[in-house]
Symmetry: C2
Subunit: 324 residues, 2 copies
């Protein structure tokens, strides 16, 4: 049995050894740069963990794990162009360090490299796994488009927001687990359960991200303090506050979320004040807990011995408890 840390290290090692034709350099240097940038490698580690959980040899799942990580990095490269983000993990983003045409092409190439890893799974499992990967890739794009739509939308419902983060964030975690499970030999029922487990912890993860942006210890989080408030992002916290607040506070929130300021101190303070008045912090944590509990319920139903479920159990707990 391996630990999450073992799997992360294994992914890091495979990424270092990951080789492909790398000419022309102008295309492949940014790919190496991106894959060397680090990250928690949580998605590919989930592929390996799910494979081993069902009695498979995790080594057999390594190409699929690599595919998931390369795919994830493809989305980051393209998202950074769309969001005009200058930095990622403290380093220049690809489009910023090189340029937009190169970043577009780098992403396109990474998506095909991901598929090229994926086809190394056993032939009998290929249609199922590639089919799920396609579906996931399309859904991630749909989620990103919804996210962009929300920037200019007059009204966004909480259901729409949850659907957006499900597509943009949760389905990739869910697919990582299901692909690992499929390689490990899980049956249809368990594959379905682990997928839904992944969706639930993915939703909890993103909601915790939203929560920490406003109520986290910013120095640990390593991001701009309350960046979501600064950029007027319609997160769960904002939408829930709109739903619950009295007319005056609602108007105030709506006005504040039209501003584009240089100094955001006062704005952040006022928004936090309104959020606290309507207990948005407590309510958000309650929803996170609800998704966590749903995830644990699904995990319990999976028919393998409890000790095999330890990594997923601990991941689910960490998502709720993490402070950064």
């Amino acid at each position: 049995m391996h630990s999450l840390e073992d799997f992360r290290k294994q992914v890091e090692k495979s990424l270092k050894e990951f080789s492909f034709n790398d000419h022309p350099r102008e295309l492949y240097d940014p790919i190496y740069y991106m894959l060397d940038m680090g990250g928690k490698r949580i998605r590919p580690a989930m592929v390996l963990a799910a494979c081993e959980m069902f009695g498979g040899d995790y080594k057999e799942a390594l190409p699929a794990a690599l595919a998931i990580e390369v795919f994830h990095n493809f989305t980051l490269v393209h998202d950074d162009i769309m969001d005009q983000a200058p930095l990622r993990r403290g380093k220049e983003t690809v489009y910023q360090k090189w340029n937009t045409p190169v970043a577009i092409l780098v992403g396109d190439t990474m998506l095909s490299l991901a598929y090229d890893q994926l086809i190394q799974v056993k032939e009998g499992k290929l249609p199922e796994i590639i089919g799920l990967f396609n579906k996931t890739s399309i859904e991630v794009c749909e989620g990103q488009q919804m996210d962009m739509n929300f920037e200019t939308a007059d009204q966004v419902t909480i259901d729409e927001y949850l659907e957006m983060i499900r597509l943009k964030t949760a389905v990739l975690l869910a697919a990582s687990l299901k692909i690992g499970a499929a390689i490990g030999g899980a049956d249809a029922g368990n594959k379905d359960r682990i997928y839904k487990f992944g969706e639930a912890i993915g939703l909890a993860f993103q909601l915790k991200d939203d929560y920490l942006d406003v109520f986290g210890k910013q120095e640990l989080f390593g991001k701009q303090a309350s960046g979501d408030i600064v950029t007027n992002k319609k997160t769960y916290l904002f939408l829930k506050a709109l739903e619950l607040s009295a007319t005056e506070d609602r108007q105030k929130l709506k006005e504040l979320y039209k501003l584009d300021l240089n100094d955001n101190m006062e704005k952040i303070k006022t928004v936090r004040g309104i959020f606290e008045k309507y207990e948005i912090d407590r309510r958000t944590m309650a929803l996170i807990q609800q998704y966590h509990d749903e995830a644990i319920r699904l995990l319990v139903e999976i028919g393998v011995p409890d000790d095999k479920k330890q990594i997923l159990h601990s991941i689910a707990g960490q998502i709720v408890e993490r402070n950064f």
Copy 2:
């Protein structure tokens, strides 16, 4: 037996019937727009033709044909962003009509939609066909990157240029034919021959494009007259002229290819003059003929009755003879 026209119509029909989840509309409207824009559908028609040539039922190759056409359109959507092209086939390009983030995401989604069509091929043929598709997709990106590199490169050799157009243009035609052949049941030798046939006619096609840009009847060609000269594109014609010309003419050409003018009449005239002086038109047509002859030689070697080869024979001929 079907004609090329039959196959084109069949592709057009399949594209019309091609259905997928289309929410959010902001993502899928541009996909419908792009697929409705028309085009010769030559690549997907080649998939069907190659399948039937080896005794397969062309209907079985329809999803793969669709995959190739959707893939081709994905490359156009992203290339238009990179090239800042305002128009395609007389209509606004996707990034121009919507915006760059939408166009990036539309392309990404189309690439995944292409894979989603491709997996409908028979299970036993899936690894081979997806593997070839991956390789092709990566090579097309490499070709596009080389093309962008050449814009700012001091020196480009003719070999490098031919390798660039092989990757950017020829391999997709070659892969279309090989995928169709694989579905139709061709053996390894014939798959190899038809792939090389596709590369050869792809190279001939692009060189004819370069030729017509300078020496074609512009009103028929429907593009900006001598656009390659206006934009200082280092085509085969330019590179061959550099190789053959006397010092004075070479210097002149190099200087002209640094200019960014509003009125290009004089520049075009001078460049054409130098090209004609060194018989670049004749030499380019000779190289096109050479690739054509190589293609026909490969076609002859393919072990199926001659009447089955009619479509590919006629395609090869048309590429050399076309005036637009």
